[in-house]
């Protein structure tokens, strides 16, 4: 099949991506415990000296791994996450009042991000109803006699995503469990940048296998690869 229309080429330089991140308030990131965090964009944020960020993502990584490096280097003023336990630096900054932390249960956080990505205002969730930290300030709604919490949707100025492979249009596939929050985050950015281990020509990915449709993506850049040592490698 041939087409007369050529899809947009969204290849983006790291410099351009950082220009976008530099002007924004909130950055949503894909990844879980560092796995699936975009290493080259994180490095770029550190080198560019970008600071005062509000981060939204699953967790705070580890002090020397993934998104956690931005916290260790004090580039973050607030994080919305489900977990910061693997990054004691984040816990200390929180206790010292240097880092604002908003906790959301992990599955609820995923749905809040998904809701933002699919254009909803929020979701009704029946988990955490007995947890005061979760229910605080949230509206309770009865549906068919059962209580739910209204959890609001999350979007961000920029979403940064790590993919195994992307084409130049932004269609993306992920690497095993590095998929985690990445496809959800990819939809929830006002601007979404995909850092891919491999970039192929548009048309080379099997449409049947695409996880993130490129329409959600604004920029694609090549990853320089993970430059940190994983916790399990240190033993």
């Amino acid at each position: 099949m041939t087409s007369r229309v050529k899809p947009v080429d969204k290849l983006m330089t790291l410099e351009h991506a950082l220009d976008l991140i530099e002007t924004c308030e909130s950055v949503m990131f894909g990844g879980f415990g560092g796995v699936g965090n975009p290493p080259t964009l994180i490095d770029g944020i550190l080198e560019r000296g970008i600071t005062g960020l509000t981060l939204i993502g699953n967790d705070a990584g580890f002090p020397d791994i993934g998104i956690g490096r931005l916290i260790s280097e004090r580039r973050v003023k607030k994080i919305i996450a489900s977990h910061i336990g693997s990054n004691p630096v984040a816990g200390k900054q929180m206790t010292d009042g240097d880092l604002e932390v908003e906790f959301s249960p992990q599955g609820t956080l995923a749905e809040r991000i998904r809701a933002g990505g699919v254009g909803l205002g929020g979701v009704l969730v029946d988990t955490g109803l007995n947890n005061e930290a979760v229910t605080k300030g949230k509206k309770r709604i009865m549906i068919k006699g059962c209580p739910y919490l209204l959890e609001t949707a999350l979007t961000a100025d920029v979403s940064i995503v790590y993919a195994k492979k992307a084409d130049k249009y932004g269609n993306a596939v992920y690497d095993t469990s590095a998929r985690n929050t990445n496809p959800l985050v990819a939809m929830a950015g006002n601007v979404t940048i995909i850092e891919a281990a491999e970039i192929v020509e548009t048309g080379e990915l099997n449409p049947e296998e695409v996880v993130t449709p490129g329409v959600f993506v604004d920029g694609v850049l090549k990853s320089k690869g993970v430059n940190w040592t994983w916790a399990w490698e240190k033993k």
Binding site: F32, G33, G34, V35, G36, N58, D59, F62, A81, S82, H83, I84, G85, S86, G91, M94, T95, V101, F103, P105, Q106, G107, T108, A110, E111, R114, T127, G128, N130, N131, E132, A133, V134, K164, Y174, D175, T176, S177, A178, R179, N180, T181, N182, P183, L184, V211, V226, W230, A231, W232
Partner: protein, 217 residues
């Protein structure tokens, strides 16, 4: 806690896993449980970072750093495994497809309340996926030390730490005993040697109900 004891607890927990189950294993001792499930028992292990069908640890040098369990340690995929995003990982939990979760705890109350996400002013790990797992899994098994580092009971009449979820725990396996939470009370099912029933009761705040089969003095 000694290595032997950790494995004893894991081995005991593995006996709760039956053919056909979908099971989530938490970080720490629960991770060891998979090693004690016989190869002949078909089980799907769920990892909330987006894997159903996690397999044993890979051979050293053959790790895929992106294929990990929720604790960030490399795993393999078993036959029939699938990868999915975090929303689907929690859909499995929320939709009632998870038969069992095995996790650690800071405190458990006699009616099955669970506290394992924060020690105010001291530790602020966050709840992660513990709320969904505790509330929605078919069965919740807690693996933990019977007492805390200061020797205080962790099984209490009422939790003093902020709750993760209320009335969710079914079975508690400690270094000393196995206890079952029932509406009629907290039942002592088994006591591990060298401990006695009295030892367990002395280190447990609520009054234990003795199962007929429990031996010891």
């Amino acid at each position: 806690m000694g290595k032997e004891i950790r494995h004893q607890m894991a081995r005991r927990a593995a006996r709760e896993i039956h053919a056909g189950m979908v099971v989530n294993l938490g970080i720490g001792i629960p991770t060891l449980v998979a090693d004690y499930v016989p190869d002949t028992t078909p089980v799907m292990f769920h990892a909330e970072n987006g894997v159903l069908g996690t397999g044993p640890s890979p051979v050293q040098g053959q790790e895929n750093p992106f294929l990990c369990n929720a604790g960030g340690f490399p795993i393999t995929a078993s036959k029939g495994a699938s990868y999915f995003d975090s929303a689907a990982a929690f859909a499995i939990i929320r939709r009632g497809k998870l038969d069992m979760t095995i996790m650690g705890a800071l405190q458990v109350s006699e009616n099955g309340d669970l506290a394992n996400w924060i020690v105010p002013g001291k530790r602020v790990p966050g709840m992660g996926g513990a709320i969904e797992l505790a509330e929605k899994a078919g069965k919740v098994i807690i693996l933990m030390n019977h007492v805390d580092k200061e020797g205080n009971p962790k099984i209490l009449k009422k939790c003093t730490l902020p709750l993760t979820a209320a009335g969710c725990v079914n079975l508690i396996i400690t270094d000393m005993a196995v206890l079952e939470v029932k509406t009629e009370g907290l039942f002592l099912k088994e006591v591990f040697p060298p401990y006695t029933i009295r030892d367990v009761q002395e280190r447990t705040e609520p009054k234990l109900v003795l199962e007929d089969a429990v031996s010891g003095t």
